[in-house]
């Protein structure tokens, strides 16, 4: 089976390494484009929405801190992608922001996604406990070919 574009979710941790290696191999064999992406989780303001006592400054300092953490993780993801895919000419990496579940599902249904390759524990480094069930939600809603790695 030939693909025009292999899309892989990368988070800079071991959770995405196997999926990334597979996506790179698939892109090599199919001689197609490889797209990697990381998602900066935009769900944190809502996640701490129950906290009504923090001063505006303390709340903002916390959100800035979490954002900075995720930016570092995004850079680690970019490095992981560049190292694994260095011999693929048609490659690109993007950093997206928003709800990881919504963005992953959108990628799994995008017309230009030949195949989406994802590790089951993807984006758990971003923290929120509900991200543990990302792959389950993805399987239920993906319409494009999808490969999940443990």
């Amino acid at each position: 089976m030939e693909f025009k574009n292999i899309v892989v979710a990368v988070d800079g941790s071991e959770a995405s390494q196997e999926a990334l290696n597979h996506a790179v191999e698939l892109a090599r064999q199919s001689k197609c484009a490889l797209t990697g992406f990381f998602i900066i989780d935009g769900g944190w303001p809502d996640f701490i929405g129950n906290d009504w006592q923090s001063s505006k400054g303390a709340r903002q300092e916390f959100l800035d801190y979490i954002f900075k953490e995720q930016e570092s993780q995004a850079e680690a993801a970019r490095m992981q992608f560049e190292i694994a895919a260095e011999d693929i000419n048609d490659r690109r990496f993007s950093i997206l922001a928003g709800d990881p579940a919504e963005i992953l599902i959108a990628q799994a249904n995008a017309a230009d996604t030949g195949m989406l390759v994802v590790g089951q524990r993807i984006f758990q480094v971003s923290g929120r406990p509900s991200l543990r069930s990302l792959s389950k939600r993805l399987v239920a809603k993906a319409t494009r070919p999808l490969t999940l790695f443990p």
């Binding site: 129950n50 009504w52 916390f62 923290g127 406990p129 509900s130 543990r132 069930s133």
Partner: protein
Amino acid sequence: MSDTGFFQKLPRALPGLALIVITMVVIRNWLEPWMTNAVVFGTKGWLVKVTHLNYILLGIIMGMLYRNVVFGGKMPDVLSDGFKLSRLMIKTGIILLGSLYTFNAIVQLGSMAIFLIGGFVILTIIMVLWFGTMLGLDRSMIGVMANALSVCGVTAAVATSPGVEAKASHVAYAIATILGFGILTMFISPFIGHALGLSDLQYGAWIGTGILNSGQVLAAALAFNPNVAPGTAVSVAEIWNIMRVISIPFAVFAVTVWYWSGKEETEGGKRKGLGTLLVEKFPVFVIGFLGMVFLTSMGAFGDVGLKGGPAASETIKMMRLWMTWIFGFGLVGLGGYIDFKELRQAGGAPLKLGLIVGVTKYVLALVVVFLIKDYLVAI
């Protein structure tokens, strides 16, 4: 996010606010009276007498249902700005709550609260540092859990995380654990309080000390006794809660000192001094609350209606009525921030540590309140 003022944001907040207001109006005018009169299992008012569901708990439940059932796990954008205002409503309610106290009452209640809160904060921090190390948890995770479990839940986790280099996943699991435990205790505490025949003072002191998260302290107090007046559960529990909030900068300082002890500081030193922490982390609404106490003590609103004194003035009565509505609105909104997906997925060592320390603190606070009941002075 655009940095716009309150009045620019207000039109966007209207749909969410309207839903909150309509929900509380329906609960207070129709649902609660219906539950009070409904005959279930042959008993009139069984739903209220046995489940202790009053407008406060019903409001939180409705908020949770909106998010998790009606809207499938996420508040629609059109409503989210209105729900964000729930934080402002609760802060406003707490500031108005200052009208329940004179300075004398604050000194009486506050001195008891300092004794209990101070003791429990120190004891809980020590317990978390010890248990956390025994469970092999990461130092930054232990630091976040120490303050979240000892001071006031999510607020303390938010204040502590940057200073102890907490990873996002550590903070998230700590918050989910604290919230889950807080919600559980919010529903069971009124049962226990009524079953044990606790007075408002004993109950307020217990939950003000034993419940981990501040939103749930407020809700559990109003669920036990929805009246807002001097000597009611909410008037006691909130003094305890304010003592906890005031201790945040000190607890953050202590835990960051522990975290950085024997550790090389990076990026020019992240540890902040106590003065800086006091400026950055001190919740401004406490000053508003104290300002209200000052005005009340000066007689700006007329008689407060303390036990044995003259009846409360009409202004004070009206302010208390407003407070019940403001808290009702605020807690519907707060319910909308409780995401079952996040709570269901919490687990691992943070949950274990949270349960061990949380249950110990909750039970121990009840035991201590019983032991010192003769020293607790009603206002």
